[in-house]
Structures are given as structure tokens and as C-alpha cells.
């Protein structure tokens, strides 16, 4: 029983980590219907920045978190303003063009990181211990990431619902043309959104590198993982992404324990395929979408 409870706790906490790494992608997709293929590379860049701040200046990932987020905010704004805004979205090929542009961007980010940090796996010793709750060990690092993921989800949700800028962003998401007709600066809203999404990726990386070692080429896997999660949740839906993250976390931990680690990797994608077949709109469909 204690083991089962431990597994549930671990699954939920890992779910939080997965959510943390997917939130930025979800925001960008929700507003702009753009899949940012450089998302994982942004996460890795944030993580490696935290590594340098830790190694060179002894700064903990808690300090690195806002710095990495700020740096990625700037990079994100530059990418959206300088590149993606210039790509014609109107035609059906528009989506493919942005996809290709972010694909190229992921190479630029990953290879620049490689020149700076090399290709070895890196991690930061931070929050490695656990709180004992009765017989259950609650790993501190996982808990911190999960709480932060929840806080970010709530914050983004509140921002989108209750602030003027947030409402304007949602208006842009519903109809860019309509929003522009009402006098909103759609271009600036998209830049802010992309920058925020990138910042969330960078911040996530600064913490997650303490749990999962990153190398400069890890980005691709992280993008796939995050994309799987938001597709499972119903692209752009925040509650859906959270549910999907917990589902993935629990499935993974349970499958690893009861079916074996080798099977665990497959089970997650089986769940994903099942959802795509039986519920192509995602777990929550259109509810709670941005």
C-alpha cells in the first residue's frame, strides 16, 4: 500500500514536471496556432544558462529561473518580431512555413549552445533530497517543479482571463482579423505571447536540469514530449494540458513499476494513439481553450 501511494505521488509529481516543460508551447500554440519546434531547445538553453550561473557564480537555480526566463523572453521577442511576423500566415502553406522556420531555429539554438557548452550531459546538484511524509518519500526537486508548474498555469490563466492584455491576446487567438479591426496591435500581442512562451520554456529548463541531465541535443526529444502532452490535452487548453500531464506521469510511473521499464516508454505513446483515435480533439476538447 505504501508502495502504491509512493508511486501515485511520484506519478503526480513527474506529471507536474512534464506540465512545466509544456506550458510555454501550449500558450504559443493556443494563441497563434504555431508549433514552436525550437521549444525544447529553449528549455535546454535555459537549463544550460542555469548551469553556467551555478558553476561560475554559485547561483542556485532559484536565481537562475528569472534570469533564464528574462533572456528567453528577449530571444523569443526577437524571433517573433524579426522572423515569424515576416512569414505570411494567410495561406494554408503559412502554417508549414512557420513550422519550417521554427525547425530551422531549433538547429540554430542547439548548435549555438553546442559551441558554448559542448555536447556532454550536464546537471546541477539542487534539491536532491526528499521530505518524509509517513512512509512516503516526497522528492523535493519534483515537488518544487510541480508547485511551480501549477502556479504558472494559474498565473497564465488569470492573466488571460482577467487582464486587459490577456483579454486582447485571447481576442487575437479567436480572430486576428477581428482583433485588428477593433484597433488591437495584433503584431505586438503576438510578440508578447511568443516571448512569454519562450520565457516559460527557459525558466522551466533552469529548474528541470537539476532533475533530468540535459545535453545540447536534448531539445528535440523535449519538444516531442511537450507536444505529445499538449496534443493529448487538446491543443491550447490549460486544464487539458494539466490533466494530460498527470495522466502521463501516473501512466509512466505505474507502467515502469508493473509492466517493466522497457514497456513504459511504449505505453505512453499507446495512450497517445488511443486518444488520437477515440478523442482526436484531446482529453478536454474545446473546453478551457485559450
Amino acid at each position: 500500500m505504501a508502495t502504491f501511494a509512493t508511486l501515485v505521488v511520484l506519478g503526480l509529481l513527474w506529471g507536474g514536471v512534464y506540465l512545466l516543460m509544456a506550458e510555454g508551447l501550449n500558450l504559443i500554440y493556443g494563441v497563434m496556432k504555431v508549433v514552436n519546434l525550437a521549444h525544447g531547445d529553449f528549455i535546454v538553453l535555459g537549463g544550460l544558462l542555469a548551469l553556467t550561473l551555478f558553476g561560475r557564480y554559485g547561483l542556485s537555480p532559484v536565481v537562475a529561473f528569472p534570469l533564464a526566463a528574462a533572456l528567453l523572453f528577449v530571444i523569443g521577442a526577437a524571433v517573433q518580431g524579426g522572423v515569424l511576423e515576416r512569414i505570411l500566415l494567410a495561406k494554408p502553406e503559412g502554417e508549414l512555413r512557420t513550422l519550417l522556420a521554427t525547425f530551422g531555429l531549433s538547429y540554430v539554438v542547439a548548435n549555438t549552445s553546442f559551441l558554448i557548452w559542448g555536447s556532454q550531459f550536464q546537471s546541477i546538484p539542487f534539491l536532491q533530497s526528499a521530505f518524509a511524509v509517513g512512509p512516503i518519500a516526497v522528492p523535493q526537486g519534483l515537488l518544487a517543479c510541480s508547485l511551480l508548474a501549477a502556479a504558472l498555469a494559474v498565473a497564465v490563466h488569470a492573466w488571460l482571463r482577467h487582464t486587459a492584455v490577456g483579454r486582447a491576446v485571447r481576442a487575437t487567438a479567436q480572430s486576428a482579423l477581428g482583433a485588428a479591426a477593433c484597433g488591437l496591435n495584433v503584431r505586438r500581442l503576438r510578440i508578447v505571447t511568443f516571448a512569454l512562451g519562450a520565457a516559460m520554456a527557459g525558466g522551466a529548463g533552469a529548474l528541470v536540469i537539476a532533475l533530468v541531465p540535459f545535453q545540447t541535443s536534448s531539445g528535440g526529444d523535449l519538444t516531442v514530449q511537450a507536444f505529445t502532452l499538449i496534443a493529448l490535452g487538446g491543443l491550447g487548453s490549460y486544464l487539458g494540458a494539466w490533466l494530460a500531464a498527470e495522466l502521463l506521469g501516473i501512466t509512466e510511473v505505474m507502467a515502469q513499476y508493473y509492466l517493466g521499464s522497457d514497456a513504459a516508454a511504449a505505453v505512453i505513446y499507446l495512450v497517445f494513439i488511443a486518444v488520437l483515435v477515440f478523442r482526436p480533439q484531446g482529453l478536454l476538447g474545446r473546453t478551457m481553450r485559450i
Partner: protein
């Protein structure tokens, strides 16, 4: 070696390194040079360990030339950059064999590249001392390849030896489901059984696994004395993370590849303390000529040699020795001479099976102690005493 060990390495893409191998004093070696060809990953993500390897070859060539060359002729290394790409390596070995017509071949790094060029080298009937650790190529499949690196199943033999010497009885094995760790795990299990220990848990995991919590919990339920990971770096760190966070105790934790990397200690900090790893070479080894090798390598390249440098250096030295004994560049005669070679190198005793599998080289056990790697086993090579059992996290 299938591992890809990298440090940030800005390697100049020098393709022809003949100049470095010219005799320094001019007098000793004369006549046309003996040209030794290879492709090396000089640029790209996998270049860091490969450049160590190239430097090992370069140092060996320089020393041979200083001592009068081979067959009285200087050694010249012809090295091209394969960028870590197997098909590029194949093209380059084609060029080396058929257009440059080099006299001898040495190995690229790492195992994928060795396997890629193996058929070609075999067709050309040229001997190649190879730095691929898995044993399959050396069991008759590619008769002209001889293994110049510790064979995979023997990678963790000294770890089992150390555990057995402490009276530990039970082992849990966590194995990455890829070729090298699987072959290694078989070697570990066989050795443990031979030493009277029993493998109470054994499970493979996908190479993409990042969360090891459930796996480690499951292994711990069998209460093993020793937890061994047949791993690379990222998974070794992941397993230590999970063990510490879940407060999983064992008397000993050991990993094949992971602890040997400096990033293991940096990334895990205090959690790395007391963890064991294996290495094929250590600068402090009291092996034949090692002190001079470390001094010369450091003087020439400004850094201490790692195991890639050492095995490459030793492989060219052994090859040159065989050529010298044969007295010609006849590849079949060189092969026969190599198969009978038993010699002490900087890495350890070099000896081959009749099909070219390495039976001499073994490995050494290191332990993270106070933020540093110490060589702890075998005892006669130790730089510090073993610290066992593993303390509570």
C-alpha cells in the same frame, strides 16, 4: 567503445598531419615514410574523445620516429575528418586504401564508425587495430580487425571482484536497452555468478528514460547488496537521483559509464560521493611506460591523456611493434604477428584470442571521494583506499 564522451573541444580541422610525425632529429629514420591512415571525428558533437584518440596516435608516431622509425622508415599519419558520420568514414577509408594507398590502418572513433568501415577494411585485407568494445566483430566476422580496447563483457569485472572481496552476495542490475550495456550486463551476470554472487534483479530500460523512480524502488525491494547500472552518463545520473530522492540504500552503487566523466561529479555534487565507476585507463596507473606517456602527452598537448588517448597510443605502438618483428608491410604476416603478441602497454597487458578478440586488457575501478575521482581497485593500482559500504544518502 560505444560511449561518446565529449568535452567542449575546438578542434582545428587539420586533415593532413604528416608534419607532426616527421622525425625530429632527422638522422634516425630515412627512406619514404610508412603512411598510417585513419579517419577521426575532428569536428562536430562527437569530436572531443576522438581528438584525444588522434593525439594518442600522434604522440605514438612522434615517439616511434624519435626512436628511429619503423623498418628504418619514419611514420606519417594521414588523418581525415569524418565528422562523426559513418558514411563519410566509409568514403574516407575508401580513399585511404585505394587512392592514398596508405601502408597501415588504425581505427576511427567510435564503435559505429568501426562497424561501418569494417567490411571495407576486411575486403581490402588490411589489418586494423580497432577501438570498438563489443566482441561480435572479432569472432571471425572481420578477420583483419583486432580488438585494441577492453572487450565489453569485461568492463565491470573488477567491480564484481571488489564487491565479492567485501562478501557482498546479491546484485541488482539496471541495464540500458542498447547494444553495449546489454552485452556488458551479460558479462556482469556471468562474472557475479562465477564469484558466487546472485543477480536478484535485472531489468532493461529504454535509452530515452529520464524518470527512474519506479525502477529504482522495484530494484530496492529485493534488498540487493550492490546496485549496478550498465549505463551511459545521463541514465547513471538519473538512477543516482532517483535512489537519493527515494532514499534507496545499498552497500555499493556502481556504473559502467557515467562516474568516469567529470560531469558526473559536477552534476550530482554530494550525491556523487562514494559512487563507483569503471575506466579503462587512469593517468596514475603503474603500467609499462605510463609515467613517460603522461608527461610527454601533457607536454605536447597541454592536458592529461584520457583513456581514448591511451588506447589509441597503445594500439599504434603495438601495430608498429608487429611490423618491426615481421620486417615487412605484408598485412597477413602482420596479422599473424599481432595475434601472437603479448605485451605490456600503458593501458595494461595486451593479448588477443585466435580470432582477434582482446583478452588482456581489463578495467579499473574508480570512486568519487570528496569531489574527486580516486582509483581504488585493483588494490595494487589504488590511489586511495576503498570507502565501503555506501553511507546513508
Amino acid at each position: 567503445m560505444t560511449t561518446r564522451r565529449e568535452l567542449l573541444q575546438t578542434s582545428a580541422a587539420i586533415t593532413l598531419l604528416g608534419a607532426m610525425a616527421q622525425p625530429r632529429r632527422g638522422a634516425a629514420a630515412a627512406g619514404p615514410p610508412i603512411r598510417v591512415g585513419c579517419s577521426i571525428t575532428q569536428t562536430g558533437p562527437y569530436s572531443a574523445p576522438a581528438v584525444f584518440e588522434l593525439q594518442g596516435y600522434q604522440l605514438a608516431a612522434a615517439e616511434l620516429n624519435k626512436a628511429g622509425g619503423v623498418l628504418g622508415r619514419p611514420i606519417e599519419i594521414v588523418a581525415y575528418d569524418d565528422q562523426g558520420n559513418p558514411s563519410t568514414a566509409v568514403q574516407l577509408y575508401q580513399k585511404l586504401i585505394h587512392s592514398d594507398r596508405v601502408d597501415l590502418l588504425v581505427s576511427p572513433y567510435e564503435a559505429d564508425l568501426v562497424l561501418a568501415v569494417a567490411p571495407l577494411v576486411t575486403r581490402a585485407r588490411m589489418v586494423m587495430p580497432s577501438l570498438g568494445a563489443n566482441i561480435e566483430p572479432y569472432q571471425g566476422k572481420y578477420p583483419y580487425l583486432i580488438q585494441a580496447i577492453t572487450q565489453t563483457p569485461r568492463y565491470m569485472v573488477p567491480v564484481i571482484d571488489l564487491a565479492a572481496s567485501r562478501g557482498y552476495k546479491t546484485v541488482a542490475l539496471l541495464v540500458q536497452n542498447t547494444q553495449f550495456p546489454q552485452e556488458l550486463a551479460k558479462g556482469i551476470a556471468d562474472e557475479a555468478t562465477a564469484k558466487g554472487m546472485s543477480v536478484v534483479f535485472r531489468e532493461a530500460y529504454a535509452p530515452t528514460t529520464t524518470d527512474f523512480s519506479a525502477l529504482v524502488l522495484k530494484a530496492a525491494e529485493r534488498k540487493p547488496d550492490v546496485i549496478i547500472g550498465a549505463t551511459y552518463l545521463a541514465d547513471a545520473m538519473g538512477i543516482v537521483h532517483a535512489a537519493k530522492a527515494e532514499n534507496v540504500q545499498a552497500k555499493m552503487f556502481a556504473f559502467s559509464i557515467g562516474p568516469v566523466e567529470p560531469e558526473f561529479g559536477k552534476g550530482l555534487g554530494p550525491a556523487a560521493e562514494g559512487i563507483f565507476g569503471t575506466t579503462l585507463y587512469f593517468p596514475s596507473l603503474k603500467t609499462a611506460g605510463n609515467e613517460a606517456f603522461v608527461a610527454d602527452f601533457t607536454a605536447k598537448f597541454g592536458r592529461a591523456p584520457d583513456y581514448h588517448a591511451a588506447v589509441a597510443y597503445a594500439s599504434l605502438k603495438v601495430l608498429a611493434g608487429a611490423v618491426q618483428r615481421v620486417g615487412s608491410l605484408d598485412q597477413d604476416k602482420i596479422l599473424r604477428a599481432l595475434l601472437q603478441t603479448q605485451t605490456d602497454t600503458v593501458v595494461g597487458r595486451f593479448a588477443l584470442s585466435p580470432t582477434g578478440m582482446q583478452t588482456g586488457y581489463t578495467s579499473y575501478v574508480l570512486q568519487w571521494q570528496k569531489g574527486k575521482q580516486e582509483l581504488v581497485w585493483p588494490r595494487e593500482q589504488a590511489t586511495a583506499p576503498v570507502e565501503l559500504p555506501h553511507p546513508a544518502w
